[in-house]
């Protein structure tokens, strides 16, 4: 296997959870040992991910590249790499493993080995999705992640877990079967499964439209975009806390990542053509998610519907095709993972105490559980995009992008931010200061383990909120590359976009389309 850095970082990140998962199944020690071993694996996974922080923002686009032959006869290879689009998603996935183990320490009491087995498989598959540079490899990880997630919901979920798990599985797998057809079609037309090589080629408009439709359906279901979102609330509500966290933090991002990685550079003309529809659907998701969240009495359901709205901001940012919009979108992907992940963990903690997720059963906690409410408040403020928190930066970038693209688009998206404030503040008000209805003294405030679980996410809320430029600096070069490839291909097809593309591209004067293309070529193996 050829590796760029002499040490196969990405492969190790994928293999380590698999090895530990296999060991868990074979060894089957007592529950505490299983938890400790998985926690150890999670911490090791985070340590293994540290070399990724040496990512050079201005270097060639794909770094930490690892390649080995897989099926040469069909042009398939084990090809991994990281760029600005995937870097933070991989880091977030690695971080979520130990946090999910800690968050489930007392929450999960049955089939403990198998639960942790599923968590480890999920981690491995998710990292694979974000790092794969071979289309088939991407699909393998994309689908492989479904099975552990299905089991997490079906086995450890709530009362309606069967319904929710089947709905989740059917929706997502049915959607992605057409993605498989698109992958096959790309190989036929492009002659390879290699994503960097496919990005370099141009495709006819007709082909692009069909391929875009097939891929967009798979990605839209995964995001989920309105009206393909109906699996999400059921899955979120029924999943155990760790399942909800993984769903919110990682799984939903795969859809938006798919749009960025495949739709924009591979089918640029179709993306531009479909952009008005995608923007309309995104705005519908924002408004719809916010309105439905406003009417929820179940805390988890409320946060699940808020996810539909937040992810609407992400897809909106992507289809603005501006550096600001897409930067905001990627930042929002990361932020939503941190914030909503944190909120779902906190719902899990409160459910452990009250055995209810209803707002009315969990009112007035501010008096009895101040530490809990402090963190819950922090994540809630982040969720409503309060200045100083991480989500503010992402959301404002998307909104600026939207206003500079089209004032009406911006105006339509703004109520989403207001709705988020309405439902989150309403929730916060009732949970903190509402009439305590069923509080028992046995409900203790946050313990040390719970603090350890939540503090990393809380720190990230501030870190990204107060110093966003560090993250944006890493993301932007990759976005510029994707957008320049997209623009160049569209120009070659004579497609005149009304999106005022170059004006908003913030390309440096020296960075012409030709130099951008050269940069892309250099990075190709």
């Amino acid at each position: 296997m050829t590796t760029q850095y002499g040490f196969p970082v990405v492969t190790m990140l994928i293999v380590l959870p698999l090895v530990v998962a296999a060991a868990l199944l074979v060894l089957r020690r007592n529950e505490r040992t299983v938890r400790l071993v998985t926690l150890g694996a999670g911490i090791l996974e985070c340590l293994l991910a540290l070399p990724l922080l040496s990512y050079a923002p201005n270097g060639p686009a794909f770094q930490f590249v690892e390649q080995a032959p897989w099926l040469p006869a069909l042009g398939m290879s084990y090809h991994m790499g990281v760029d600005g689009l995937s870097l933070y998603m991989i880091l977030l996935t690695a971080l979520m493993l130990p946090l999910c183990v800690l968050g489930s320490w007392t929450y999960i009491s049955k089939r403990v080995t198998e639960f942790h087995f599923c968590l480890l498989l999920m981690t491995s598959a998710c990292i694979g999705v974000f790092a794969a540079l071979d289309f088939v490899l991407f699909y393998v990880f994309w689908e492989a992640m479904l099975v552990p997630m299905y089991l997490l919901i079906a086995v450890w979920g709530g009362p309606r877990r069967r319904y929710a798990s089947i709905k989740f599985f059917l929706y997502t797998l049915a959607g992605s079967t057409l993605l498989l057809a698109a992958i096959v079609a790309f190989r036929h037309v492009g002659g390879t499964f290699s994503i960097p090589e496919l990005m370099e080629k141009s495709y006819s408009f007709r082909f692009q439209m069909w391929a875009f439709l097939a891929m967009a359906l798979a990605f839209a279901i995964k995001v989920p975009m309105f009206p393909f979102h109906t699996w999400l609330p059921a899955a979120h509500v029924e999943a155990p806390a760790a399942g909800s966290v993984l769903l919110a933090a990682i799984l939903l991002k795969m859809g938006t990542y798919g749009f960025l990685r495949f739709c924009l550079p591979l089918t640029p003309a179709a993306s531009v053509t479909a952009a008005p529809v995608m923007i309309a659907i995104s705005i519908a998701s924002i408004i719809y998610g916010g309105c439905i969240a406003l009417g929820q009495t179940d805390i988890k359901k409320l946060i699940a519907y808020s996810s539909v709205g937040h992810m609407g901001f992400v897809t909106l940012g992507i289809f603005l095709f501006s550096v600001k919009g897409v930067s905001g979108a990627i930042l929002q992907m990361l932020n939503h993972g941190i914030t909503t992940g944190g909120l779902f963990m906190m719902v899990g903690l409160i459910y452990e105490r009250s055995h209810s997720r209803e707002i009315t059963d969990n009112q007035g906690l501010g008096k009895f559980m101040p530490a809990f409410m402090f963190l819950f408040g922090l994540f809630s403020f982040s969720s409503l995009a309060f200045p100083g928190t991480n989500s503010f930066v992402g959301e404002i970038l998307v909104l600026i992008g939207a206003f500079s693209s089209n004032t009406w688009v911006g105006f339509c998206a703004v109520p989403g931010a207001m709705l988020a404030a309405a439902y989150m503040l309403r929730l916060l008000q009732r949970v903190t200061w509402g009439e305590p209805s069923s509080f028992k003294k046995s409900w203790h405030d946050l313990g040390a383990r719970e603090w350890v679980t939540l503090i990393p996410l809380a720190l990230l809320v501030f870190y990204i909120g107060l110093a966003p430029s560090l993250a944006i600096k890493t993301i932007e070069p990759s976005i510029e590359r994707v957008l320049s490839v997209m623009h160049q291909k569209n120009q070659a097809m004579g497609l005149t976009s009304d999106m005022k593309f170059t004006e908003r591209m913030r390309l440096p004067a020296s960075m012409t389309v030709a130099t951008a293309t050269d940069a892309v070529r250099k990075e190709l193996p």
């Binding site: 699909y139 393998v140 492989a144 079906a154 086995v155 059917l170 797998l173 049915a174 498989l180």
Partner: protein
């Protein structure tokens, strides 16, 4: 020495003879040596992979295709023998039962090497006659008799059609050698009689493959016959059918009229099979309809008619027997008294036998075509081959069918993992579990590292379509 090139066939013939002696002597100790002998047969087939040559007036050919399928047949027979070996207490599993099983497998091995239509027909019948006797062998179960009659009646009718087709081919082309036939024109305009004849002749193999509209026997026979027999009928004869179809497909060049017929039959077969499977409660019957659908998937490669298509069909058929045998292994293991398990019988399997539940999950997800299993890789090859030849609509039909099939395959996993049951834990000998585990591992391995198997299949495909 020519004789050493035939070692896989000779080894299996030796097993048949030994079983014959055992059945005459009434020995009940067959199960202690048969799985080992069948396992050695797999090694012999591996050793014979490189054998090449022609014999018996060029009617019998050892090439990459035949040796690849002989390995698959030897493997399939070993697995079925292994599954049956776990049922030592069953009174139905007598030496003559295994003798007929081995004889059928031997016929299929011969079929893999036949390159002349009459020889091919004889080998097909040799494998079929054993099955006609095997299928009704199920204690005193009346459904077994019904299954036997259905299989024989359908088989006889289709055989007649195939023979009728053969006569047309002979009349039009004046030869029965596939190589000579391949050298002549097969467009409908040039040789209408031959094309009609070929279509009819193919019907015989479509019957074995349970392709629409020759599939009506399939669910009834699976349901009626003994579980171990069903495991065999559902897998190995299909390999025989695929090898012949792959060989005959070499006659076809892409975009001929017959390929369109194959594509249409494939599309109907996968759709009909999947839709019918959706409503089944009997697991064997469900797998029966699913095999109709899978026969349709195999048609993707045959319809493509290219080297890649034939290789894809060969690979997929091997993947299919792996995953189907894993599924039937679970069926056979959970039904202690040989009864047909229903979906409800799978309830709580996870509690009763976690390893079995996992094997079932691997098999079911592979049958769906979920990565990283052999089913996914095989389907990817098929779709690629069909797309390359412009069968876009067929690819779309295939992926939509995959979406339909998710529901009932997921049903198997759902019952096993989320169903509640008060049934006691299943006691399964460790050796049997290891056997099932190896099957599941092979399903995963062929999906994750497909290159060695695919290269073998590709060699066979390239040899037919250089």
């Amino acid at each position: 020495m020519t004789i050493f090139k035939l070692l896989p066939e000779l080894w299996l013939l030796g097993i048949v003879c030994a079983l014959f002696v055992a059945s005459v002597r009434g020995s009940r100790r067959v199960m202690s040596w048969l799985p080992v002998a069948a396992g050695i047969g797999v090694l012999v087939a591996v050793a014979g992979l490189s054998s090449r040559g022609e014999m018996l007036y060029a009617t019998y050919k050892l090439d990459a295709l035949s040796q690849f399928f002989k390995l698959a047949i030897a493997f399939g027979f070993a697995v079925v023998a292994g599954i049956a070996a776990g049922k030592k207490e069953s009174r139905d599993l007598t030496p003559d039962y295994f003798m007929l099983l081995a004889l059928s497998a031997w016929g299929l091995m011969l079929l893999a090497s036949c390159v002349e239509l009459v020889t091919l027909y004889l080998a097909l019948e040799l494998s079929s006659y054993s099955l006609y006797a095997l299928i009704p062998l199920r204690g005193q179960d009346r459904r077994a008799a019904e299954a036997g009659i259905k299989y024989i009646l359908f088989g006889a009718a289709v055989t007649a059609i195939a023979l009728f087709g053969l006569s047309y081919i002979m009349a039009a082309k004046h030869t029965t050698y596939i190589a000579a036939l391949a050298a002549s024109s097969w467009s409908f305009a040039d040789a209408p009689l031959a094309v009609v004849g070929l279509t009819l002749f193919l019907a015989g193999f479509f019957y074995k493959l349970a392709l629409f509209p020759f599939h009506f026997w399939c669910p009834d026979v699976y349901q009626g016959t003994k579980n171990e027999t069903a495991a065999y009928v559902a897998t190995i004869p299909k390999l025989g059918a695929v090898v012949v179809l792959v060989r005959l497909a070499a006659i076809l060049t892409p975009h001929m009229e017959v390929t369109t017929i194959l594509a249409i039959l494939g599309a109907i077969s996968m759709t009909g099979g999947n839709l019918a499977a959706l409503v089944q409660r009997d697991v064997k019957r469900l797998l029966g309809y699913s095999s109709v659908a899978h026969a349709g998937y195999v048609m993707l490669g045959l319809a493509a008619g290219s080297a890649a298509g034939l290789a894809a069909s060969a690979f997929y058929s091997l993947a299919y027997i792996l995953m189907n045998l894993a599924a039937f292994y679970v069926v056979c293991t959970i039904s202690k008294d040989g009864e047909n398990p229903s979906l409800d019988d799978l309830d709580g399997l996870y509690h009763r036998a976690p390893a079995l539940a996992m094997i079932l999950a691997v098999a079911a997800f592979s049958l769906v075509g979920l990565p990283p299993t052999a089913g996914f890789t095989g389907k990817l090859f098929l779709l690629s081959a069909a797309w390359d030849q412009g069968f876009y609509w067929l690819v779309i039909v295939a992926v939509l069918n995959t979406a339909i099939s998710i529901y009932y395959y997921l049903g198997l996993v759902r019952h096993a993992y989320t169903g509640e049951s008060d049934a006691p834990a299943l006691v399964i000998p460790k050796g049997t579990l290891v056997f099932g585990g190896v099957l599941a591992a092979l399903v995963l391995l062929a999906g994750i590292i497909p290159a060695p198997l695919y290269d073998l299949a590709a060699m066979a495909g390239t040899q037919l379509h250089p």
